[in-house]
Amino acid sequence: MTKVRNVIIAGSGPAGLTAAVYAARANLAPLMFEGLNAGGQLMLTTDVENFPGFPEGILGPDLMKQFREQAVRFGTEIVTADVDRVDLSERPFRVWVGDDEHRAHAIILTTGATARMLGLPAERELLGHGVSTCATCDGFFFRDRPIAIVGGGDSAIEEAIFLTKFATSVTVIHRRDELRASKILQERAFANPKIDFRWNAVVEDIEGEGSVQLVKLRDTQTGDVSSLDVAGLFVAIGHDPATQLVAGQLDLDEGGYVITAPDSTATSVPGVFAAGDVQDHVFRQAVTAAGSGCMAAIEAERWLQEHAPGA
């Protein structure tokens, strides 16, 4: 069995990697399981214009590469694997990757959030055949074709604008009559001649054999169903916290987010800290995730000094 680590970090978005930088600089020799979706949601974006320190903007994957390099520079050990199971019932905590068992005095959970899907059978069948959750990956394949995107938040509108580089038209399908996206994005979208909107509409079904041909929309006010001919449907209806790993072991709120103490990243289990989107249903920004990752590392360090001295 391997030796007990000071701290294991699960997840490698801005929260996890910032926690790693701070923990490594505090000589805690952190072990990080960066997961299959290493880098987190920013890996699926293009230009990040609101991360301080990058006046010209920076590509999401490039930003995460720099985060990672900084964490590694100070001695973070990074393993490219998902954590499969944890046991937080006794200390040292236990973490499994496949059959490999790891132990740590403290855990920092930064598993983030995963894209929400519509939940239609056709969506699953046509995923990768016209249905996509990654505009930056798949927009390219819809050059000169009409497409639609579902959602009304920042991600949906950012992606809609991005997709106009390729598509002949981008229809934003939104279940309300106004967008949740920031004003600057709304203004850009309204000014873009390739973008139009279907308000108060939800996707009822997606049709096509081997590729998307049309989506059926239901008007939430009238109940009327109509068809929209599109070659692609992008889904950007938000995210759910990735807390399956700790369900039943940490207190979660009704949305599935890890509950943390006020002004703290402490969870319901002493020694387990949570940072970033896994515990934040309010801000969900790269910079707030990074901030809470810093908090988690500092709190873990203090906790270790008290509860695992000499570790």
Partner: protein
């Protein structure tokens, strides 16, 4: 890129994939695709560990749109597996980023 990985293009696809003694896994990728970058290290590991059972080839869809169109690739990363000597139809289609264990499951039977 690892030495065990070959690059294929629209021009060389048929020749390289068709003349392989082992099944060929073609990774359809692009520079601007985050998840493609996520799976790249796993593919490099497989290329080394399974070099006797599988050839791993990379095809940049940006530079080689014809082949992507030919196989109806509409999302990346997409991994297509071609049995030895076959170039007309893939035997496996794996869409989206996956971890190594999930990828090995998907490749069961191709690389025992």
């Amino acid at each position: 890129m690892a030495a065990n990985i070959v690059t294929v293009t629209d021009a060389t696809f048929d020749e390289v994939v068709g003349s392989s003694d082992t099944p060929v896994l073609v990774d359809f990728w692009a520079e601007w695709c985050g998840p493609c970058k996520m799976i790249a290290p796993t593919l490099e590991e497989l290329a080394v560990e399974k070099s006797d059972k599988l050839t791993i080839a990379k095809l940049n869809v940006d530079e080689n749109p014809e082949t992507a169109r030919r196989f109806n690739v509409m999302s990346i990363p997409t991994l297509l597996v071609f049995e030895s000597g076959k170039t007309t139809e893939e035997s496996r289609r794996i869409i989206g980023a996956k971890g190594k264990s999930a990828l090995l499951e998907d490749l069961a039977g191709v690389i025992a």
